[in-house]
């Protein structure tokens, strides 16, 4: 097996995990795809050391998370803008998920799948300042303090934003 083939197998194995991390943090598939590609290019540069390492998934996830946070911090103005337009943003961003919610499906599996889709959509459409700490808390298992330190905001703000995010997702559970 050549190096290229080994790296292709590596990407194939972890691409879903990396992309999921990115798309849940960024909420946008196109940006998540760019970040995922950058993550794998960095992995390619270090493939000799991380290719067979058991810590590769953790390394990939950490790099993906950091790149996403860097990407978001470049748009700090947008972040603050959404933060200030809290309520208005929530109602607007939920429009798509609400339209999905209106659909009825007879089959139970289809219903579950539908609920999953709605929840995933609702999560991605949360405002940045709610979605990012929520994802870090529930998917990355970081504490409130760690999230506050990572994002450079107060602990109270993290708790409030996460709680508001959960309140917004409650109707899609």
């Amino acid at each position: 097996m050549t190096d290229a083939e080994r790296f292709e197998a590596f990407v194939r194995e972890y691409q879903d995990m990396v992309f999921a991390t990115a798309v849940r943090l960024l909420g946008r598939e196109d940006e998540a795809e760019d970040v995922a590609q950058t993550v794998f290019l960095r992995a390619f540069e270090r493939f000799a050391t991380i290719g067979h390492s058991p810590s590769a998934p953790g390394w990939l996830k950490t790099v993906a998370t950091n790149l996403c946070l860097n990407h978001l911090s470049r748009y700090r103005a947008r972040w603050q803008f959404f933060s200030e337009l809290d309520q208005a943003g929530e109602s607007g961003t939920m429009a798509f998920a609400d339209s999905v919610l209106a659909r009825d499906t007879a089959d139970e599996d289809a219903q579950r799948q539908d609920r999953d889709t709605r929840l995933e959509s609702a999560l991605r459409r949360l405002p940045d300042h709610q979605r990012v700490p929520l994802v870090l808390f529930h998917f990355d298992e970081r504490s409130y303090q760690e999230i506050a330190a990572t994002l450079g905001v107060s602990l109270a703000k993290v708790k409030t934003d996460i709680h508001r995010g959960r309140e917004s997702l409650k109707k899609y559970l």
């Binding site: 992309f19 999921a20 598939e29 795809e33 590609q37 529930h138 997702l169 559970l173």
Partner: protein
């Protein structure tokens, strides 16, 4: 937003459980070919145009040695230049003060000093005379 901590904990639990049960997200089909194309393009570059981490180990070690040597030389040159510069600066400052003394202050310094002494003595004599003549009686009362 509820104020009841039980509601808070319950909601956290419910949302957390539900999010954890979400099915995995699939990466777009084009991600893999895009990554492979980008890595193929990177492989096609000459070694010196690639990221340092992808260089052969021998070249990495060599580059570290070269950078360290260059930094050491640069540091020593800079330090020497700084020392020489400091000495020259001190000399220049001393020369400037000497020239200033020789040209401006020196010639008038003695005159000013003599004048100051004479004026001081004159003032002292005058004060003594005034005290003796005008205030003599009062001062010895």
């Amino acid at each position: 937003m509820t104020d009841d901590p039980r509601d808070f904990g319950s909601l956290e639990q419910r949302v957390g459980d539900r999010l954890q049960r979400l099915p995995g997200v699939r990466a777009p089909r084009r991600l893999l070919p895009n990554v492979m194309a980008a890595t193929a393009a990177a492989r096609a570059l000459p070694w010196h145009a690639r990221p340092w981490l992808t260089w052969p180990v021998a070249l990495q070690v060599l580059s570290i040695v070269v950078v360290a040597a260059t930094a050491t030389v640069a540091w020593s040159v800079w330090s020497d230049a700084r020392a020489i510069g400091a000495v020259q600066q001190a000399r220049q400052a001393t020369s400037a003060v000497r020239v200033l003394w020789d040209v401006l202050i020196g010639p008038i310094a003695m005159f000013v000093l003599a004048l100051t002494v004479i004026v001081s003595l004159a003032c002292a004599a005058a004060w003594t005379a005034v005290r003796h003549v005008a205030l003599g009686g009062a001062s010895h009362r």
